[in-house]
């Protein structure tokens, strides 16, 4: 079975950032993303998601290394100082690599 190596970028951020993040991802060349609702704790304290905007979202993007780096650099510059947000990147094998290359047909419509 032929597989290709791609990067899996995971972002955990405060929930109200969802629309902004989705727009950024589209602009920076991600061809898709997956979001789940989450809660957690980090340097900005507990975010238990019990009400209103107190929750987190967990966003995953499968893409090539360049796109992952571009997204990571942008998010760090744009959000790290003022918002609850972390990100980490791992390696994954994918079956249909063409679904996860960057930049062709940028996705710009906001989701969720």
């Amino acid at each position: 079975m032929h597989t290709d190596r791609r990067r899996l970028l995971t972002i955990v951020a405060e929930a109200p950032l969802e629309q902004n993040l989705v727009q950024d991802l589209g602009r920076l060349g991600a061809k898709g993303y997956t979001i789940t609702d989450a809660r957690g704790k980090g340097s900005r304290g507990v975010r238990n998601g019990q009400w209103e905007h107190s929750g987190n979202i967990r966003v995953e993007v499968v893409c090539d290394a360049n796109t992952a780096d571009a997204i990571a650099a942008h998010l760090q510059a744009r959000y790290y100082d003022s918002y609850a947000l972390i990100l980490f990147i791992g390696d994954v094998d994918v079956l249909r690599p063409e679904k996860f290359v960057g930049f062709s047909e940028p996705l710009s419509k906001s989701g969720a």
């Binding site: 405060e14 109200p16 900005r44 304290g45 507990v46 238990n48 998601g49 019990q50 009400w51 209103e52 905007h53 929750g55 100082d81 003022s82 918002y83």
Partner: protein, 314 residues
């Protein structure tokens, strides 16, 4: 002083939370309860508006708007220099206290009904009017008025937040549909209102319990502000109510609105517009101190104040 049963639900939630019970309401239910409360309040106000001429209300509306601009402007220097906060934090908290808490409005309305005191039913209109100005003031206090201000996205944040949309939507629907039109949906929005409020306050108790552990961290001065400013604002509100010729009940409501601090619309807008402000700080004050203070102690106080202003007999 007897405690209204809905406030008992708040105390139940608070106690359960402080004792670390595993009681928890799903956030979907919290959303459902606020949906019904916001629409219900809006509808009730709208139905009443359909009986009023907006013209006669215009002067009152203008005065209310003015108060909405004035309160955060008074709060800001206190927070900046007396409490000693950084500029973004002072501005953000000023916006919270200049705006209003819909939950607190629901409690004072329930309080007056159960005391058999009438008030101007179009008050929800004032709730909407008071939500917005403080947000604008808060933002301008940090950013100034520069070319780069993104007014478009700001207006979006301010006017299209869930709270303003549902309140305004309810007002308009109630106004268009009138008493008769609203009658078939009264079962959900009016008959269940106090029960829904009770559950909402139960949840608020749980949330406040969570906030309380954070409070100590932010210093005594802010906590003092979170009680002193509402008292001050309530007297402004009560005075204005008297001046505008509101009934005793209406005066109590306006005092309570002035005393209340937003914990829904303003936090959301500030988070986007002034992200460098620490949201934990404003929530600890508005939700951890002012909200419980107002619904347990404040409202009866403001009632007494209003009675005093209306001549002892009340």
């Amino acid at each position: 002083m007897t405690i209204d049963p809905v406030v008992l639900f708040f105390l139940l939630g608070l106690t359960a939370g402080l004792l670390r019970s595993d009681l928890r309401l799903p956030s979907a239910i919290y959303d459902f309860l606020t949906l019904i409360l916001l629409l219900g309040i809006g509808l009730k106000g709208g139905v009443e508006l359909s009986r009023q001429s907006l013209g006669t209300l215009a002067p009152q509306m203008l005065a209310i708007l003015l108060m909405g601009f004035a309160l955060p402007l008074i709060a800001y220097p206190l927070l900046r220099y007396a409490v000693g906060l950084k500029r973004p934090d002072a501005a953000s908290i000023a916006a919270h206290y200049g705006s209003v808490s819909v939950g607190t409005y629901a409690v004072v309305a329930a309080y007056l009904v159960s005391q058999g005191i009438v008030f101007e039913e179009y008050m929800p209109l004032f709730v909407v009017l008071l939500e917005v100005p403080a947000i604008l003031v808060g933002i301008v206090l940090v950013r100034g008025i520069t070319r780069s201000t993104r007014w478009g996205s700001l207006a979006h944040e301010v006017f299209l937040g869930k709270g303003v949309v549902l309140l305004t939507g309810g007002l308009v629907i109630g106004w268009v549909a009138g008493v008769e039109g609203v009658q078939p949906i009264e079962g959900l929005f009016f008959d269940l209102f106090k029960g829904v409020l009770a559950l909402f306050l139960l949840e608020m108790g749980l949330i406040v319990a969570g906030q309380m552990s954070d409070m100590r961290r932010y210093g005594l001065l802010l906590m003092v502000f979170a009680i002193a400013f509402p008292l001050f604002a309530a007297s402004i509100g009560a005075g204005l109510g008297r001046m505008l010729g509101l009934s005793l009940g209406g005066t109590v409501v306006l005092a309570t609105l002035a005393a209340s601090a937003s914990y829904i619309a303003v936090p959301a807008a500030m988070r986007m517009a002034v992200p460098e402000a620490n949201p934990a700080l404003s929530l600890a004050a508005s939700l951890g101190v002012t909200f419980p203070f107002n619904i347990v102690v404040g409202i009866p106080l403001y009632h007494a104040l209003a009675r005093y202003l209306h001549g002892a007999g009340g």
